[in-house]
Assembly symmetry: C2
Homo-oligomer: 465 residues x 2
């Protein structure tokens, strides 16, 4: 549909279809709540996100105040975390709190965690005290551990209750929270430790006087609040459950991690590896964010790179005399640098993939190194020959071909060796390999590449000039 925008007809209907934010803003301005809800629901989630991203700072509060808080929360939960936080940040704290109140607890924590501290605190102050305390507890966890992925809404019963008492409590619980998952009840002792789990449909077949402790499944599987994402992925691969209870160090029941939260976070992690590999490391960026925030986040990465680059370039500075004598070398330095970077990045990508699949362990340097070096010999020879031929065609001097070809061959070996092993090393050192592999690789391969070309040329200087 978007492909037709350039030759669109000057009719309002077409324009509105192409620019859903115009309709959204108009309905909000007219205060037509029902029409706005119906319109929002008619949009695809992508168009909802698009439309919200294009509303200005006056239209956004108008739209959200025209919607009921639960409808606003529904809309918000379709957005990416960064956009949801940005949207909430434009509302006044009390409207924001009313909407946050309607979100499931894991999304509450995610959105507030992405706001700056003053905004988050203002909203927390406008929430009921117990809810605010619960959210604060959740925001303390990182997004990729069980504590950060869990929802705290769950059916919790004391083991001493009878089925009759339990059903009574259930009615109250459901009135408080209609969105709660009611397929399982979780049974705790007086110290709030998880002791059992109860498929709720079983209640239909037992006497009301039975004690929960007698009909529950004992010793249920659970995970710790600190269990990392990769272990949760593993858990749900092994067990066909839709959720798993989360306990703290004392065995106290804290919440439930749902399968869909783990699936979504695994998807986000893969996406985030891509962003980090391309230099988006200071935090998620949307182009609707303030210019200086975007600029600062990108510069945090670029400024480290410029230092690393200067280090690599200083190798060239050491060999200025050689370079001046054989200026053709300057043409080939960027080729050696870039091609080695490409070969090394391929090895990085394969190591990242094999690490994530469990096909290689972080301690198996030698194995990976050998697999890469044998491949590097083949590819280095092919690339070295190609660039050597180019150099000879360009300059007519076979020794120039020898220098740049040999340098590229050796540097390809270095690049794949480093590229293959550096993600393993970083993983062992608990540094995120998606962030740090690229710049470290580029710096080392640049230094080695420049050194190889220029020192080989210095050795053969008499043949080159």
């Amino acid at each position: 549909m978007s492909e037709t925008q350039s030759d669109e007809l000057p009719q309002l209907a077409t324009q509105d279809e192409e620019r859903p934010w115009l309709t959204m803003a108009r309905l909000a301005e007219e205060g037509d709540s029902d029409a706005l809800v119906a319109y929002v629901e008619s949009l695809s989630t992508a168009d909802q996100a698009l439309a919200l991203s294009r509303l200005d700072t006056e239209q956004m509060p108008q739209v959200f105040e025209t919607l009921h808080p639960d409808e606003a929360a529904e809309l918000l939960s379709h957005l990416s975390e960064a956009q949801a936080a940005q949207t909430i940040g434009l509302l006044d704290p009390s409207s924001a709190a009313a909407i946050i109140h309607e979100l499931p607890s894991d999304e509450q924590a995610d959105v507030l965690g992405d706001l700056d501290e003053d905004q988050a605190n203002a909203i927390l102050d406008a929430l009921p005290a117990t809810e605010a305390a619960a959210v604060r507890e959740l925001t303390a966890y990182k997004d990729d551990v069980a504590g950060g992925l869990m929802v705290s809404e769950l059916l919790r019963f004391n083991e001493k209750l009878t089925v009759g008492q339990m059903i009574e409590q259930l009615a109250g619980d459901l009135e408080r929270d209609r969105e709660m998952d009611v397929r399982y009840g979780y049974v705790c002792d007086d110290q709030n430790r998880l002791v059992g789990v109860l498929p709720m449909q079983n209640l239909l077949f037992v006497k009301r006087a039975s004690r929960i402790a007698d009909i529950m499944i004992r010793n249920p599987l659970s995970v710790r609040d600190t269990t990392p994402l990769e272990d949760l992925v593993e858990f749900f691969e092994t067990h066909a459950f839709l959720g798993v209870p989360v306990v703290n160090s004392d065995g106290g029941l804290m919440g439930i991690v749902q399968r869909k939260a783990v699936d979504y976070e695994a998807f986000r992690a893969a996406e985030s590896d891509y962003l980090k590999s391309q230099g988006i490391v200071g935090g998620e960026e949307l182009r609707t964010m303030p210019l200086l925030l975007r600029s600062r986040r990108r510069l945090s990465w670029l400024s480290i790179n410029i230092v690393l680059n200067l280090g690599a370039a200083s190798v060239i500075a050491l060999f200025q005399d050689t370079l001046q004598s054989v200026i053709a070398l300057a043409v080939f330095l960027p080729i050696i640098s870039d091609m080695s970077g490409c070969s090394g990045n391929q090895a990085v990508a394969i190591s990242m993939r094999e690490l994530s699949l469990g096909l290689v362990r972080p301690s198996e340097f030698l194995r990976v190194w050998w697999q890469e070096v044998s491949l590097g010999l083949v590819n280095g020879t092919v690339l070295g020959l190609l660039v050597a031929i180019c150099a000879i065609v360009f300059d007519g001097n076979p020794y120039l071909g020898l220098v740049v070809g040999l340098a590229l061959m050796l540097n390809t070996l270095i690049a794949v060796s480093i590229g293959g092993t550096i993600p393993l090393l970083l993983k062992k050192l608990k540094v995120d390999p998606a962030v740090a592999s690229g710049p470290l690789l580029t710096t080392v391969t640049d230094m080695c590449g420049f050194f190889l070309v220029l020192s080989l040329a210095t050795l053969m200087l008499s043949k080159l000039v």
Copy 2:
């Protein structure tokens, strides 16, 4: 656990725990099927994948022949597609066919699609003819459309049946395929067109003489076999279904796409964007694949890059005289090239992300360009100043600082403009932006960067020497 491998004790138990493939091979050699099954089940899915990747070409068939085909299929379904295909490829066609027979139809197609044609045909010939025909039909679809993601196992009933006849047919269907999802039945007319869907639990409450057509839900939602992944993601975001029926152009019922298949494929797509951005474009690579296959796939990407690099380097060749007069410029050329590449890649990453979230449409070049250029002005100025200061400290000549600083500033503007808009352009041209953005960006920014530095230097040559 893996961290302890280097200082592991020389005890068999420890060794076996660290190297599960040894135990696996031993149990297979002993032919102890029960112990092997129990051992495989005791391993995490990551360790299963690891162990299988380390078995040699003799051990692998031994392990798979010791397992029953349905256990082997279970094990295989935990592996990545590439590894599953590699594993199946080591077995003789008849054992392979027996295992493939036990897989759900979407996984059958995925695994066979990853084998080379001869192997796939040999296995298909060993399958029952109707099953082989069905698999051939599925392998014709790409992995990321509904036809490639669907399973063809489903409960299919003619609308003219009564509930009693339907329950009779059901018993036969379930005997044939125990793994089938039985929560919904799909109702077709005589031309096999989907006309209704039936929640199976409803059967409990109706008379056996009722006609299906009277109790089914009419006009059910469905998707086309050609529906792309992104629309399926959207569908499952909007509808809380666990699956959706797939129809062909005539409305004929072909299969079911399950929510979990769509979630998994979305995860794979994100992961694949990362791999492609790092230059893994010729197909998935595992280091256990044959050396020459790995080498050829990586070279397919590298050889395009070397041509692009030569193009960029030829700009330097045009300015050899300037470079020879001011050799210090050669130190800064790789810095300008690399820093511009970094800035451009950040813009590429943000555009890829905004495209996937729907926050920007492929036709909105001008909008993105403006957002990037305004940021580029800030970052370009900061980076230009930094590199100018470095040049002045290094060389003592303020004009050298002016040349490289101005060149980096201007080239940062060019890099973010191209980086931001090129994914939109490629998307519009239906070229995969994850594959092509990087090399195109690097080539253009290198050419422009080299040209800017060297032409500015040529203009100011009298001040620089």
